[in-house]
């Protein structure tokens, strides 16, 4: 397998979408699509999903349990301070619990986002086309051994017929 890829450059969202549909109808696999803003139809067409909401739920649940354990330990076990004869394991813990669910949920979700995306300060971007963060859309198809010469030609034709303003290989 080589690292080479075919890149179709578009300047219109409608053309990009019709191109994606036709390429998929012909049975070719699109590796990635680049755009200057999020396009929900692209997510659906490429069938990509994320488990971030599940992760956020788990983090928040962990946040709640960990905070309750901490509050219980400090207020009931480690230093049970009596004030006004009220129970140490009190309902007013709910405020701290509520805020810490949000705190830990947010913090860990953000960390997961950066880790999964491999986004750190100083990461060198692999820029396939200079206009992709401005006004251009890209369809990227991996050139692997399974694709015959005829396949490559028909991919090129498909990209071109659907309004690609530029077709490059990298």
């Amino acid at each position: 397998m080589t690292n080479k890829m075919i890149i179709g450059v578009y300047d219109d969202e409608g053309m990009l979408m019709s191109s994606i549909r036709q390429i998929q109808e012909k049975g070719f696999t699109i590796n990635d699509v680049y755009s200057p803003y999020p396009i929900h139809e692209v997510f659906e067409a490429l069938k990509i999903k994320t488990r971030l909401p599940l992760a956020a739920f788990l983090y928040s649940t962990f946040g709640m349990l960990a905070t309750f354990a901490f509050l219980y330990w400090t207020s009931v076990v480690n230093y049970p301070l009596v004030f006004g004869g009220k129970p140490q394991n009190t309902l007013s813990f709910v405020v701290i619990l509520f805020v810490m669910i949000i705190n830990i949920g947010c913090l860990f979700t953000i960390i997961t986002f950066f880790v999964r995306e491999k986004k750190y300060p100083g990461v060198k971007p692999e820029i396939l086309h200079p206009g992709v963060t401005d006004d251009k859309y890209l369809i990227v198809i991996q050139k692997d051994e399974k694709l015959s010469k005829n396949d490559l030609e028909s991919i090129n034709t498909l990209l071109k017929n659907n309004g690609a303003i530029e077709i490059t290989e990298k």
């Binding site: 396009i39 971030l52 953000i110 995306e117 750190y120 990461v123 206009g131």
Partner: protein
């Protein structure tokens, strides 16, 4: 999705995506205007005054403030609550409108989030100084210690404040930064300056805009939005409980949490309006911050103003209905009439009466009037906090406790200093950060222009 024409055009001028990019990064790529240097100088002077006041407070103590045994909370807490209120703008705007799928947020959310971050930093200065010995401020955090071990009081609203506000600052700042990553990447790819390319490249974290990144980006924004929206309610409810859980007349009331939350959103929206009118004029952004945007904010303000009026009336009614002498005295003889009448009626006029002018379309479409009323609301909201804190504390249940309160130059200086911090932050934001979310503008461009 159901589409309505009620909102009008959100991006005028049938712009191409490249035009949007060029327009938004123009202030960053262009020459620094002279007014910016003048504004920076004034803000730095205000900050210098603040630094002097903070130095005096730390080196000589809280005794340099105008506080006394009866009025133990003065300008420090008034300004703390005022700034926190303004700090609600970003989240109210950005997150509530995001989860409600309101497209008109796109031109304004970035500036509103910036305001939030700077306002919350300003707010944090006051309780920190009010502790007296700031170098021991870490005592407020629950950490293993050799004093018992003695833990903080987890049932105290003052501790809830620490947790809620630090969480709010963390969530707002990261939400703001994550939203900027794609825009930093755009500047990285557009700019010709090598320094800017390196700097924005560093902060864009290698963003390239592929589909999976966009999906995760949007999902993270929604999760942060969904988690932070209840936090907005919690933060100001907790701030209100600093007052409501005490037994002071005028404070000890169950209406405080919703009244404070809505008041905070009121002042935040007003501050967003003030800022956006200035930005749109200076940077000629009339195509992005359209009359339709200003109209929408004005409509929200008139609605919130009605709620504010209802809250004020409820407090007064309950004070009378309770039959409690202390409550009746505070509301009827120390606010509506008495020595704090001016402050009380300024509050009522600015927050509940004058914003009613927004019922008239003519007023809503006059930029000058909208600008003036937005400033009036912020003045009114400052007086609201003054009325709550000072009237109740100066005359409590025991006349032998009664005292007067006047702020000293040190308190005024600290306040001016925080205004300096806020203005400096906003000015740096206007100069170095794309003040509108380009990727979001592009996403709504086709259907709303």
């Amino acid at each position: 999705m159901y589409k309505t024409k009620i909102r009008g055009v959100l991006i005028k001028g049938n712009k191409s995506y490249r035009q949007i990019t060029d327009d938004i990064i123009r202030p960053i790529e262009g020459k620094t205007p002279r007014w910016w240097y003048i504004a920076m100088t004034i803000s730095t002077l205000a900050l210098a005054m603040g630094i002097w006041a903070i130095y005096i407070t730390i080196s000589q103590g809280i005794g340099r403030w105008g506080l006394n045994n009866s009025v133990a909370w003065g300008w420090g807490i008034i300004n703390f609550v005022w700034w926190i209120g303004i700090g609600h703008a970003g989240t109210a705007f950005s997150i509530f409108l995001l989860i409600l799928r309101q497209k008109w947020r796109t031109s304004i959310n970035r500036a509103a989030e910036a305001m939030t971050v700077f306002a919350v930093i300003c707010a944090g200065v006051f309780p920190l100084l009010h502790m007296g010995r700031v170098w021991l401020a870490f005592f407020i955090f629950p950490y293993p210690n050799t004093r018992g071990p003695l833990w903080v009081n987890f049932n105290s609203p003052l501790f809830w404040d620490v947790v809620a506000i630090s969480t709010y600052l963390m969530a707002s700042a990261t939400f703001w930064y994550i939203g900027m990553i794609p825009d930093f990447a755009t500047i990285r790819d557009k700019t010709k300056s090598r320094i800017k390319k390196a700097l924005y490249g560093f902060f864009s974290l290698g963003w390239i805009g592929n589909a999976r990144s966009w999906l995760r980006f949007e999902t993270t924004a929604l999760i942060l939005g969904g988690l932070t929206a209840p936090l907005v309610i919690a933060v100001h409810s907790i701030v209100s409980m600093d007052f409501a859980t005490s037994v002071m007349a005028g404070w000890h009331t169950t209406v405080f949490p919703p009244y404070f939350v809505i008041g905070a959103i009121f002042s935040g929206f007003a501050m967003v309006l003030t800022l956006m009118i200035i930005v749109r004029r200076i940077y000629k952004f009339q195509d992005y911050v359209t009359d339709s945007h200003l109209n929408a904010i004005a409509k929200i303000l008139v609605f919130i103003s009605l709620i504010m009026g209802t809250a004020y009336s409820t407090e007064i009614f309950i004070a009378w209905y309770s039959g409690s002498e202390g409550e009746i005295y505070t509301f009827f003889h120390n606010r509506i009439t008495g020595s704090h009448t001016k402050a009380f009626w300024t509050m009522v006029s600015c927050n509940a009466i004058i914003p009613q002018l927004f019922w008239f379309k003519k007023i809503r479409s006059s930029i000058a009037m909208v600008f003036i009323i937005s400033i009036i609301i912020n003045i009114g909201m400052w007086f609201e906090r003054y009325v709550i804190i000072v009237t109740s504390l100066t005359k409590d249940y025991m006349p032998s406790n009664w005292a007067t309160y006047k702020p000293t130059i040190v308190e005024v200086g600290t306040y001016l200093g925080t205004i300096g911090i806020f203005c400096l932050g906003v000015l740096l934001f206007l100069r170095y950060i794309p003040m509108m979310a380009m990727s979001e503008l592009k996403a709504i461009n086709k259907e709303t222009s």
